[in-house]
């Protein structure tokens, strides 16, 4: 393998991780305010279907776009509708939990199954079609830089937008006053309320925002990374995203890093697969699930804690802070003023 091949693989990892990053970012925001949207796997299937169908039909209605203008309007329409659907689903879960005081996990799980069926049902006439896609748009000059150019600046607007969003969300959460509020609502809603924060309204707002990103993630698959629609097009990715949110310790940067790590592992599995053709292909499919169990074990069991305790003392505190995994304290708990 020569250098340019390695760079190509790394660049494709960045590209392929984008939908997962969006979903992780969205769910991180949602869970940070204390709401669990467990429906990711179903939501992303539905929005992948809806995004593709909307883009496909818009393109048909507008007529074929001239060769020099890529399918910008259809793609934007698809992404927007997908995001909107994601936001509505997230709001439904938040409403069921906050206003109707029902179990968010139960609602989320039922939605996971229901939305997947709905996606297959409604997308029936759109399977295996070629449709519009997000246009490749290398950034002039910057994309010429060796290594960094192809890695970061030789993609499309969705990729650039997502990478910027990762840092924007981190900055918002940890460096601004509303971000502090956001984290407070998920940790100690009572204290936030006493300080005059409208807890439930903000929970609705951030859950919808998070849901919008999850919806975008679905369409990012069907319009950019895994083009088109077919039955159960991306099933499983929602669960992977939910697991990486935990692995990322509910932190946007670590979540995005987790998505990249996941991409790296899949790339390694792909390379191994071509190197050892004797091993049945189906067994390589198990890599992502073993990985998911592995990382959850890593953060869930006290293995990491024990590992840190045998390291030299000066390293312990920073490492513990770096690897700290604590769910938002009020996660999944409804906040009522009477309690």
């Amino acid at each position: 393998m020569n250098d340019s091949q390695v760079v190509n693989i790394l660049a494709s990892i960045v590209f392929l991780s984008v939908p997962l990053m969006l979903a992780i970012l969205g769910e991180t925001i949602t869970e940070r305010v204390g709401v669990i949207n467990l429906s990711l796997d179903g939501t992303m299937l539905l929005t992948a279907m809806a995004g593709f169908v909307v883009a496909f039909e818009t393109e048909k209605a507008l007529g074929p776009s001239p060769a020099d203008i890529p399918d910008t309007i259809p793609v934007l329409a698809g992404l927007f509708v997908a995001g909107l659907i994601g936001a509505l689903i997230a709001l439904l879960i938040a409403w069921g939990g906050i206003a109707l005081k029902q179990d968010q996990v139960a609602i989320g799980f039922v939605l996971t199954l229901l939305l997947a069926e709905l996606a297959n049902f409604l997308g029936q006439r759109y399977t295996n079609l070629r449709g519009p896609r997000v246009a490749h748009l290398p950034i002039p000059v910057l994309s010429e830089i060796p290594l960094i150019g192809p890695l970061l600046f030789d993609h499309d607007l969705l990729v650039y937008g997502t990478l910027i969003l990762v840092f924007a969300v981190w900055w918002f959460m940890y460096r601004t006053q509303p971000g502090l509020q956001l984290r407070g609502i998920g940790e100690r809603p009572e204290s936030a309320f006493v300080r005059g924060v409208p807890v439930n309204s903000l929970r609705y707002l951030y859950t919808a925002l998070g849901g919008f990103l999850v919806g975008l993630a679905g369409a990012a698959f069907s319009l950019d990374v895994k083009l088109g629609w077919s039955d159960n097009h991306i099933s499983g990715m929602g669960w992977i995203a939910l697991a990486i949110v935990i692995f990322g310790g509910w932190h946007p940067l670590r979540g995005a890093f987790g998505a990249l790590l996941f991409g790296v592992t899949k790339a390694i599995a792909n390379i191994l697969q071509t190197t050892y053709p004797a091993v049945p292909t189906v067994l390589f499919n198990s890599v992502q699930w073993l990985l998911m169990l592995g990382v959850l074990l890593l953060v869930g069991s006290d293995f990491t804690k024990r590992l840190i305790s045998v390291l030299p003392r000066p390293m312990q505190a920073p490492l513990a802070r770096l690897l700290r995994i604590a769910p938002p304290q009020a996660l999944g708990r409804t906040f009522g003023q009477e309690s």
């Binding site: 179990d103 229901l114 049902f121 029936q124 998911m292 169990l293 959850l296 069991s301 009477e338």
Partner: protein
Amino acid sequence: MTHQSVSARTVLETIWPAVPILMALFLITMMLMLVSSHSPLAVYDALWQGAFKDSASTFNTLAFFVPLLFCATGLLITYTAGLWNIGIEGQMIMGAIGASWIALKVAGPNPNLSPLLIITLEIIVAMAAGALWAALAAVLKTRGGVHEIFGGVALNSLAIIATNYLISSPWQPPSGGSFHGTEEFAESALLPVFGNTHFSPLAFVLALIALGIVILMLRGTHWGLQLKALGKNPRAAFLLGVSSERQALYSMMFCGALAGLAGAIRVLSWFGRMPQSVSGGIGFLAILIVLLASFRPVWTFIIAFIFSALLQGGAQVHLITQLHSSLSGIIQGTLVLFTLLFGDFRRLFGSKTVEEPEVS
């Protein structure tokens, strides 16, 4: 509050559970009118015809009912203990793999063994396989800190991958074809079925016994009480000396054993071989059933029957109207979603005895 208004309220509270169901049916009817060229009535008629047209379809509805009932019965135990056994699909698949292993490797080469012995062996191995797969999810939770939902999802996928591996490599039929499943099992390995259908009366009786045992266990045994305590208030249960780790393990294994048995029934009476997709979503469907029944055994029984009719009818709808076969899943999911959201009268409108503090 006058006497009159109280009784009107009581009546409303009694009939309330029908309201979310009607809402769901209304919504589905609207959706059908929007997306399908057939009238919703024609679609519902096709559903009904598919499930109960003649004795063959009725018995096939029952053939779906049996594994569903096993899974739902097992889930009554895990839900009582406060556990989300999402991994039930994988436990079913593992049971099917266990039963297929006996059918292919023991019954196949030894045609003279008595069917009774083989079937007993198949059932035992299937239950053990399901229980072990469930134990894995339980240990991941109690020792590894992996929530049973995530452990279950991963173990489900791994079980599907195991099936794909088996039917494409070691258990591939001599005739080739990589993902069509194994060859047909020997006659002696199959469960006796009713006439020309897939319905096994023996399995049905076993399912009824299992449900009866679970009802009695939850009502009147020490274990049932411990599980209830654990499900309602884990901390109090801990203080009373109930080991949450052990109870989680036992209840998951109990459910896994029943799910494994359900998987065995699928391959030994429905398919007669090991296909690529063993479960057909029955495990997840059982979760929906138990949620819709709010963990009440009698309602679990009734809803499991209705849902198996929807499952059997759904295939027919696809043949008649060309609508995607996921329609039955949509109906089932919408019913459960609306019941979860709006089914609890007292939560929606407050309790009549205890006035909840006003939330301003």
